[in-house]
């Protein structure tokens, strides 16, 4: 055994690390056994952390892969890390093996050739993914092309405490009028937090007569005219926000305790099941419900991507594939666990697997797929970057 280990250590640096072929799944699982996968994922939500820990236990048991959750406060940290490693010439075994990613971070990494792939559509479980019905092949209008693998669907819902605010609101204009009548009872996470920027996009998508202009990259010519209504809206909203807009919650989950305390009546979430999960964890009162706008709300998929310099690509692919298994997807959708939407196609599942999903109690605050209504597309990421920058200059440093 000892000799084998020495031999392995001697051989390891030799094969210039030809990457494993994702299509040869047996080779992938064979190479994955014994690897350690550092999954860099946002660590501010304890339910997500628990879910990732469970994934770690399962892949260790089934494939011998050790999963370490590197808890980020901002996914951009991981992007920086890979970028700096590339600059420093660390091309074979970087610190990061897998990133929970989407949107601008994905666009940046793909453009800079920092990602391994394509691999996503070679994963065995890709066969049961709902590639037709869910936005898993474009990510904020950027083509995915197999460089990241989806694992959860998210859609904006508004979370309200019916004890203080019984009625739902049908549009962002209605939200503005409600906030003026009830100052201090609404807030959104501080951009550049992704939910905060999503709120800004949701405003824009809802108040623009024709949001299709957002599907193409922003230009100097279009930017000012298109965003002018957004700034007018925010100028009216901000003084009526919680703390008059002088402080913002750091993230979406940070707003739950504020609702529980009665500081906020209304907030937003990017996870239709999160409110029910929070009720189950005592984090929200059981009078909380969710709603979507009349025209629908923005939705997108969460993905996992593998950096080009990961030393454990096979292990990362095994984890990505496991995340797409009916077992993991049903667990993620269980509001008592995580409450994330599945990316799977129910019709492609076996009867036993479908039963896993049918057995789920969605929870009192979760809308059914029909009630969630139509999903509005994310704007091109270039919009978000500029809007977030502008927001910071206008509202982020002025108090």
């Amino acid at each position: 055994m000892k000799h084998l280990a020495v031999l392995a250590a001697l051989l390891a640096p030799l094969p210039a690390l030809a990457d494993v072929n994702p299509a040869d799944w047996d080779a992938v699982t064979a190479e994955a056994a014994g690897q350690t996968v550092y999954w860099n994922a946002w660590g501010g939500s304890t339910t997500t952390n628990d879910f990732i820990a469970w994934v770690g236990a399962r892949v260790a048991e089934e494939y011998g892969v050790t999963l370490e959750h590197v808890k980020l406060t901002d996914t951009a940290d991981a992007v920086t890390r890979v970028l700096s490693e590339k600059q420093a010439g660390e091309n074979d075994d970087g610190a990061i093996d897998m990133i929970w990613i989407n949107g601008a971070n994905f666009a940046a990494m793909k453009e800079a050739d920092l990602l391994f792939g394509p691999y996503a559509e070679q994963l065995p479980n890709w066969a049961i993914v709902d590639a037709e019905g869910k936005t898993v092949q474009t990510d904020f209008t950027v083509p995915v092309e197999g460089f990241e693998s989806p694992w959860a669907m998210a859609q904006v819902v508004f979370v309200h405490d019916t004890a203080d605010m019984p009625a739902r609101l049908g549009s962002m204009q209605a939200l503005l009028e409600w906030a003026q009548a009830n100052p201090g009872r609404f807030s959104y996470p501080q951009p550049p937090d992704f939910l905060g920027t999503t709120f800004l996009k949701q405003v824009l998508v809802d108040i623009l007569p024709d949001p299709s202009v957002l599907a193409v990259p922003v230009t100097d010519a279009t930017y000012d005219a298109v965003t002018a209504p957004l700034w007018a809206y925010l100028d009216t909203l901000t003084p009526n926000l919680w703390r008059e807009g002088k402080a913002y919650p750091a993230t979406g989950t940070a707003m739950f305790p504020l609702i529980a305390d009665g500081e906020l009546d209304l907030s937003i979430s990017f996870s239709p099941g999160a409110a029910s999960t929070a009720i189950a964890n005592y984090e929200l009162p059981d009078t909380v419900r969710t709603f979507v706008l009349d025209k629908g709300t923005i939705g997108n998929a969460s993905f996992v991507a593998v950096p080009y310099n990961s030393g454990s690509k096979a292990g990362a692919m095994v984890v990505a594939n496991f995340l797409l298994s009916p077992e993991a997807q049903a667990r993620a959708q269980d509001p008592a666990i995580l409450g994330y939407g599945t990316v799977l196609n129910m019709d492609a599942l076996s009867a036993d697997d479908r039963a896993l999903f049918d057995a789920l109690e969605l929870g009192i605050a979760t809308l059914s797929p029909a009630e969630l209504g139509s999903v509005q597309a994310e704007p091109h990421p270039s919009w978000m970057t500029r809007i977030a920058d502008d927001w910071m200059t206008r509202y982020g440093v002025s108090q």
């Binding site: 660590g43 991981a78 600059q87 402080a247 993230t251 305390d261 009665g262 005592y282």
Partner: protein
């Protein structure tokens, strides 16, 4: 034999090695900050020199407020803590009240900054425990008021969070200095001349004490101006203080932002140096005014009121930490807890079951780093002190400042540079670099904690042992160290507590891979899950507190039949 010889040869070099361990990373980090600040970052294909980073920095709209916050929170926190400590010591030293305070010092000191900050936030927020206890009965509030208390734009809550942690530290330092000033006789004479206790102390003892506690006060000022974890938890965000913004820029995906971060770090360094200079000037002004005040011969009519209110503030700051820990504990066991209920609907073990395994993993990492670093620091310290004793080395007054130097350079000024430098060298991030970075901060505290008792040891014991045939090593191992068991364990506990509380070195040098209780707890701040924060905050406090308890307990057990050694 060979080993002994090399060990003896190594001994004279230990002071040099210790200095290198403390100042090397600081120097390297400053160079690593200086170059990118002037546009030189070859790793990103950028070659300087250029002033663009500074142009970008000064173009940032939030800069004036961020700079103001850094200055105001740092200076106010230091001045108020010092005022409270000086007035309490002046009004109460030698009394029974004072002895109670002394006994509370170690536990208060060992509470990590992050845990104390969380506790304070959970106490004084509009929906905090104080408001819950008073509502709706006394206040009539059915819902929390929309008041900007935590994260207020002026950084007042953040300043308060710093004060409650700096008061015990400065009090400890003052107590140590007090022992060498012959305070009691001075005050007795002053009182015999008709001066009040407080005025008499201020006029006769304070100048001597202040001369001794000046370096640690400067440390507090530099720390408070550049703190990150407390600012993340309690400080404003529109914009944040300069140090927090530097850390944000460091983590921007755009590498060019690192240049701006480096420029910000140099500005932070200049701010701290400027503030230290201003403080020195203020000292001269206060000294001149003080001499005039002494000359007036005022006996101190207001002594009682001043002493009472100082005690009130001191007690409030101690209470803020203790009640903060209580409310962390309640949240960690809380089921649903709505406002304005004074207590949760039910207490449950669920939160601990959920977060227990995660905290244990983080505790293991925390303990491994802390024990290694504190032991290394202890070894180097004992080696230095023993070398000083054996070779009759003399350190001038400047040597003390060398010890304080790594604590006077703001963390945000050299840690980003150190991270960039390690990366350029291709050194892997991880545990070992984190340990080296911790050593920079742990060494001075361990040294300062052990130096006085070590030097105060009665060298005649050594002479007797030598006369009985003991070698110098025998004297050290069989006489001196056992006699100094208690201060050695206390120094070790100080080192452990300092290491446990480190946030920025762990975060930046660990590259996110090294997850200690402190980094995990601060990461939870953004998620706002108070139950999880309660669990992590308590574990973090425990990790720092238990060593202090052991440092008291072990000597009492080992020397249970040696009364003279128990207080070492």
């Amino acid at each position: 034999m060979v080993r002994l010889v090399t060990y003896r040869r190594a001994l004279p070099f230990l002071p040099v090695l210790t200095l290198l361990a403390m100042l090397g990373p600081v120097g390297a980090g400053l160079i690593g900050t200086f170059l990118p600040a002037f546009g030189h970052l070859p790793a990103a294909g950028l070659v300087g020199p250029s002033l663009d980073p500074f142009r970008d920095l000064f173009g940032w709209a939030g800069l004036p407020r961020a700079v103001m916050l850094s200055l105001s929170t740092g200076i106010v926190a230091t001045a108020v803590s010092l005022l409270i400590v000086v007035l309490i010591t002046a009004g109460w030293s030698g009394t029974r009240v004072f002895r109670v305070l002394e006994r509370m010092l170690s536990p208060l000191l060992s509470v990590p900054h992050a845990a104390a900050a969380f506790g304070l936030a959970f106490l004084i927020a509009p929906s905090g425990w104080i408001a819950r206890l008073l509502s709706p009965g006394i206040t009539g509030w059915e819902r929390p008021l929309d008041l900007l208390i935590v994260q207020d734009s002026w950084g007042l809550t953040m300043t308060a969070g710093l004060i409650v942690k700096e008061v015990p530290f400065l009090l400890l330092i003052t107590l140590a200095a007090l022992g060498q000033t012959d305070a009691k006789r001075s005050v007795t004479i002053a009182q015999a001349l008709g001066y009040g206790r407080l005025t008499g102390w201020l006029k006769t003892v304070f100048p001597r004490v202040y001369a001794q506690i000046r370096p640690p006060i400067y440390v507090v000022l530099a720390y408070a101006m550049s703190v990150v974890d407390v600012a993340v938890i309690l400080g404003p965000n529109t914009p944040p203080s300069l140090s927090v913004q530097i850390v944000k820029w460091m983590s921007d995906p755009d590498l060019a932002m690192r240049l701006q971060a480096a420029a910000g770090a140099l500005l932070q360094l200049a701010l701290v140096m400027g503030a230290l200079g201003a403080w020195r000037l203020a000292e001269l002004i206060v000294a001149a005014a003080g001499r005039r005040w002494i000359a007036t011969g005022a006996r101190g009519k207001l002594d009682v009121i001043v002493a009472q209110s100082a005690l009130g503030f001191g007690a409030a700051s101690a209470l803020a930490i203790l009640l903060g820990l209580v409310v962390l504990a309640i949240w960690s066991f809380a089921g649903y807890w709505g406002f304005p209920d004074a207590f949760p609907d039910e207490l449950t073990l669920r939160n601990w079951m959920r977060h227990g395994p995660g905290t244990l993993a983080a505790l293991g990492e925390t303990a491994l780093i802390a024990v290694t670093v504190a032991s290394a620091a202890l070894l180097l310290t004992i080696g230095c002190l023993e070398a000083e004793y054996r070779y009759r080395l003399r350190f001038g007054g400047g040597a003390v400042w060398l010890l304080y130097l790594p604590l006077l350079i703001p963390q945000t000024a050299f840690l980003p540079g150190l991270q960039t430098m390690l990366l350029n060298l291709g050194a892997d991030v991880g545990r070992v670099p984190v340990m080296l970075a911790h050593l920079v901060f742990v060494l001075p505290y361990v040294f300062l904690s052990l130096a006085d008792p070590f030097r105060a040891w009665d060298t005649r014991m050594g002479t007797i042992a030598a006369a009985l045939g003991s070698s110098p090593d025998g004297v050290l191992w069989r006489v001196r160290l056992p006699m100094l068991l208690r201060p050695i364990l206390t120094a070790l506990a100080v080192g452990l507590a300092v290491s446990v509380g480190q946030y920025l070195p762990t975060l930046l040098i660990g590259g996110g891979r090294v997850a200690t209780l402190t980094t995990e707890a601060v990461a939870l701040a953004s998620g706002g899950d108070r139950r999880a924060i309660g669990v992590y905050g308590l574990m973090q406090t425990g990790a720092a507190l238990v060593p202090f308890a052991l440092a008291l307990l072990i000597p009492a057990l080992v020397w249970r039949n040696r009364r003279g050694l128990r207080h070492g």
